[in-house]
Assembly symmetry: none
Amino acid sequence: MHSAEREKLILESVNQRGFISFQDLERHIEASPATIRRDLERMMTAGLLTRVRGGAKRIESKNAKRRSPDTGHHLTGVPFEENVNLHPREKQAIGRAAAKLVSAGEAVMIDGGSTTLQMCQHIRGLNLQALTNSLRIVSALLQQPGTRVLVPAGQVFPEQHIILAASSDDGMQRFHAPKLFMSAAAVGAAGLMQADIILVAAERRLIDRADKIIVLLDSSKFDGPSGHIVCGLDEIDILVTDQGVSPRHAQMVQDAGVKLIVAPV
Amino acid sequence: MHSAEREKLILESVNQRGFISFQDLERHIEASPATIRRDLERMMTAGLLTRVRGGAKRIESKNAKRRSPDTGHHLTGVPFEENVNLHPREKQAIGRAAAKLVSAGEAVMIDGGSTTLQMCQHIRGLNLQALTNSLRIVSALLQQPGTRVLVPAGQVFPEQHIILAASSDDGMQRFHAPKLFMSAAAVGAAGLMQADIILVAAERRLIDRADKIIVLLDSSKFDGPSGHIVCGLDEIDILVTDQGVSPRHAQMVQDAGVKLIVAPV
DNA sequence: GCGCCCGTGATCGACTTTGATTGAATTGGC
DNA sequence: GCCAATTCAATCAAAGTCGATCACGGGCGC
């Protein structure tokens, strides 16, 4: 078995399952442990995967967490990793429903979040022009030929792999899109809320550049923890959520003039 | 067996299985190893397959080249994947040497490239503020607590995962760093060269924002293929290369007033 | 026929990759 | 906090791979 073959096998396993243990690799690949180790090391320095003890991880899932008070500001809120696996089925359903709102060839903005990430796999082949501040969404979209990916300028925050501009100049002043897809930490009668004030500023900028605001929010976020208000309910055009939403909450958003889409799980 | 016959067999195997080992070819084709080698070499230069050690690989230039006139401009030049493993030892040595030029706590710009990527692992713990246009470098730096990562605005190009601004506004006009680390496709008496004109524009912007220009270039890039000139030799402050550099080339850059650092492999 | 040339086969030295071994480092259980 | 098990990194000999070079042989025009 040659290095090119092994590399292909490893990359498939890693990208498909997110993590592959060293023992699994040893079992499925005809090569000595030393060789597999060397493969992993080489692929890591090539930026194809992340090496962790006992195996290898997909490149996009990083280890950042509250380890560094030294990079200045750190976002408050639930770290991305913990968030993705929270209501996976609901988020997938919401993502699928939201993707149906996109027309082929148009420009969209996709704000970072575990729910908005889910919609990315469903917009393949639409030849979109997508502006996003999430590096995870960039990764997902870059694999789609035909999708043009744009990012704003700013600092990359390790917790969520999100780009946030410190100043108001994010290099995208002249960008405008018919639709903005965004998520939030919570929603209530006061409007959409985020845990971190810097996020709010960034999302306000996106809102100003969009005609239609489409919010993706799983039902557990209704009456969630309060925070800084991103925008009022009346600014939202469409809210996509899952079946778990209570009639009371549904009524609340609809009373505010929001079109409510309930995605079947 | 004639060359046309062999070519057909080889191409079938490669395209069907993605990879074919040299030994397999030797077994299935009635010809001497030398002949098969020559076939492979010829087919590689014809662009029919990719030659790798121990066999041949299906050509898969990701989503580059033919498949997507749809995402607009595509960068010319060697795709990143093929480039990383080209002179790995030299690039690592250069990266290590270049990292020594960085002082703790300062701001640096790191232009995308397989050589500049190598220096990232050596600047851990220096609490840098790093502006880069390469998403691979972002990935590498984000794993380091203490390193603050900034990116400019622009479109993400899938071949090399690089952010390039279409307009001159990349949201980083007010950024300035004492040092810029960059690479190039080639260097000659005319100066530093890149294969793609858009890259040149982006790198010019970086150059304008830096006090000192530090170029990382493995020795194979001297007198390489010509292209668009990024900057003259006289604009370069330091050039880091490996031991493979010829005395003639070393003299050339030194005559231009460039400080030459030769990294031990 | 004669020489020429192109494709082929064979050999050799340099280099790269691989696998086994060792000791150090890390992890998890008690 | 300590110990056992696992995992890792470094080293070295062996095998494999590569490119260069030269010899062989049949087709071709002269």
